[in-house]
Amino acid sequence: MASPTLPQGKQIKEPGDIVRGFEQHGYITDAALGTVVFLGTKLGKPVLLEGHAGLGKTQVAKVLAEFLGAPLIRLQCYEGLDINSAVYEWNYQKQLLAIKIEERTNQTVEEKEKHIFSREFLLERPLLQAIQTENVSPVLLVDEVDRADEAFEAFLLELLSDFQISIPELGTVKAKHIPHVILTSNRSRELSDALKRRCLYHWIDYPDLEKELKIVSARLPGIEQELNRQLVSFVQSVRHLHLNKSPGVAETLDWAQALMALGKHKLDQDAVEATLGCLSKSVEDAAKIKGAGIEKMVASVGQ
């Protein structure tokens, strides 16, 4: 399969280039993710990112687009997503008007039909846009693909293998440049084997202490080191509590911002209790954290 076209002057020779490039754009990552993205661009294969919510899956596509200087096209999947909102739709209002305007002309039915089903009346949705971009391969982000239903997944599979879309009224549109495709999934349902096998797979896990410290200071440059260390260690220990929804990196960042906004310089029990809503998104989880003893946990990260 052909590989995506990189912008002029951009060269990616090894996975390290990706890791360094991402870091320059404020995304701390490791060799594993670097390798997957590298292979994705090199072999022209879609990359499937799975992992819990809030660990920066979507961000990968955004940063890749920034890094490459390529446009980012995003398709957010949801239950009931159909071809009309994902690929293309005809502009019906405009078509109806055109029919009225042309009523008195001597055009034949065929001519009229040809006119109102021309490009002028076509609304391009993300997937069609993605294969129509000029000059350079765009980054196509298919976000939360597990939320779309199986029928759509099958369509996506076809698109990802041929990179062409057929519109009955217009004919087949073939990709000018193969896009860099990033799919993300929260594993709310199992994706089909066929789709998974077409993709390079990467599981994004919770970062370790060191990496999370780096992420927080990269994203929130103003944060004090001591506070950063304490709150990240706290979050890391909360992840061991088997909550219904363990806090992701997004929650850590939210929390750090909240603590900074409150003018805290170090973690204490009151501060944690006041801002617990940033970490736990349900009453049960909050109760679990409290049950584990906030004071004790603060003390253990305090030294």
């Binding site: 996975p15 997957v36 292979l39 072999l43 109806l96 009523e103 998974k196 096998r197 797979y201």
Partner: protein, 382 residues
């Protein structure tokens, strides 16, 4: 010189292909096409750096978290660095045992030839041994094929099939007309000069429900579980998805076995699963396992959650209540079938059952065929 590098390249390609075959035999889903991709990937990152090669091959050959977790061990077993072994040999001179785990032996192990195996493999075998003993307990399962049961069985299959047909038909009648489909309407109106005389409609596709069934197979439930199993099997045709689990003290998924077209094949395959047949019951803990491992996938707003159990729980009722609460908030309906409910003097006062009651939408008996068929009305959308 050139020939040498070529030969080395070929050798490497061969090893990678062998590795692909190895992981396939170990249960990864990667097919032949992935082997080709694996070679391309190896070429892209080079083979000098083992770590990089591992990352690259992992992204190609894995397609789920399970496989992802399994991969590293497989990789290191196969690509045990010759150099590493050398250094290790220096460190522990005389320890010949390590040498047995060179790649060749790893390959022959999975190929089924018996050879020298390491500690890991031995550990695995011990587990298998324990499972075999447990599996022997399936005996009471196959005893069901008694003469008087055969007639009842036939009847059950027939009636359940009828019921599942009736369910399907009911769905159709309830479809409303839906919204105007502009695309088709305009298309059809052109031949009439653009006036949309006939409107085309389209409709939201009716979401089919999913059914998740948890069957209690502890000692007290044996006789009933078997019929409920048939019930679950019959329902598969009607629902978009039926996931079936067995539990007693632990949880076991049997969905793939029930997919078999033939009920008897399915029952036979089931005999191979063991989840501590006929032991005690820990409903709460089993439900917690279910939420942890399958909850994200199966607990949706389209899910009907069906539990068959008599509620004799040896675990803590608080745990059971908490889990049921968590489940109830995520699914459409919680149905609890209790065979004891068929007895006139039964009161749901066992600790487990009374803890569970507040979280149950439908509490119904399931002691005979009639009561099962009666469930029909709870399984349709109204």
């Amino acid at each position: 010189m050139e020939e040498e590098t070529l030969a080395a390249g070929l050798e490497a390609a061969k090893r990678i292909t062998e590795f692909c075959r190895f992981v396939r035999a170990e249960g990864l889903s990667a097919g032949v096409k992935e082997s080709v991709t694996a070679l391309e990937a190896a070429r892209a990152v080079g083979i000098a750096d083992r770590e990089l090669l591992r990352l690259a091959l992992r992204s190609v050959l894995c397609s789920s978290k399970d496989e992802w977790d399994k991969f590293d061990d497989l990789f290191w077993v196969f690509f045990r660095d010759v150099e590493r072994d050398k250094s290790r040999r220096k460190e522990a001179a005389g320890s010949q045992k390590k040498d047995d785990r060179l790649p060749e032996s790893a390959v022959s192990t999975f190929m089924g030839k018996s050879g020298a195996t390491g500690e890991q493999e031995d550990g695995g075998r011990a587990v298998v041994g324990a499972a075999t003993t447990e599996r022997l307990k399936r005996a009471d399962f196959s005893q069901v094929q008694q003469k008087d049961l055969a007639e009842l069985e036939r009847l059950a299959v027939r009636l359940l099939r009828q019921m599942s047909l009736r369910l399907s038909r009911r769905m159709k009648i309830m479809q409303p007309r839906g919204r105007v489909d502009l695309r088709r309407t305009i298309r059809r109106s052109i031949s009439r000069g653009g006036d949309p005389i006939y409107l085309s409609f389209r409709n939201k596709k009716l979401q089919q429900d999913r059914l998740t069934v948890l069957l209690d197979i502890s000692g007290s439930m044996n006789a009933y579980s078997l019929f409920l199993l048939r019930f679950a099997y019959a329902l598969q045709k009607h629902f978009k998805r039926v996931d079936t689990f067995l539990f007693s003290t632990q949880l076991a998924e049997i969905t793939p076995m029930l997919r078999s077209r033939d009920l008897y094949q399915a029952l036979f395959a089931l005999g191979q699963v063991s989840a501590g047949w006929s032991g005690g019951t820990k409903i709460g803990e089993s439900l917690r396992d279910f939420i942890d491992f399958h909850g994200r996938k199966l607990l949706t707003r389209n899910t009907l959650f069906l539990i068959l159990s008599d509620g004799w729980d040896t675990g803590e009722p608080e745990i059971l209540a908490a889990q049921l609460d968590a489940i109830k908030r995520r699914v459409r309906k919680v149905i609890w079938l209790n065979p004891l409910l068929g007895m006139s003097e039964y009161q749901p006062v066992t600790r487990g059952m009374s803890a569970a009651l507040p979280y149950i939408d439908v509490f119904a008996p399931a002691h005979n065929l009639e009561s099962l068929l009666d469930l029909e009305r709870h399984l349709t959308r109204s």
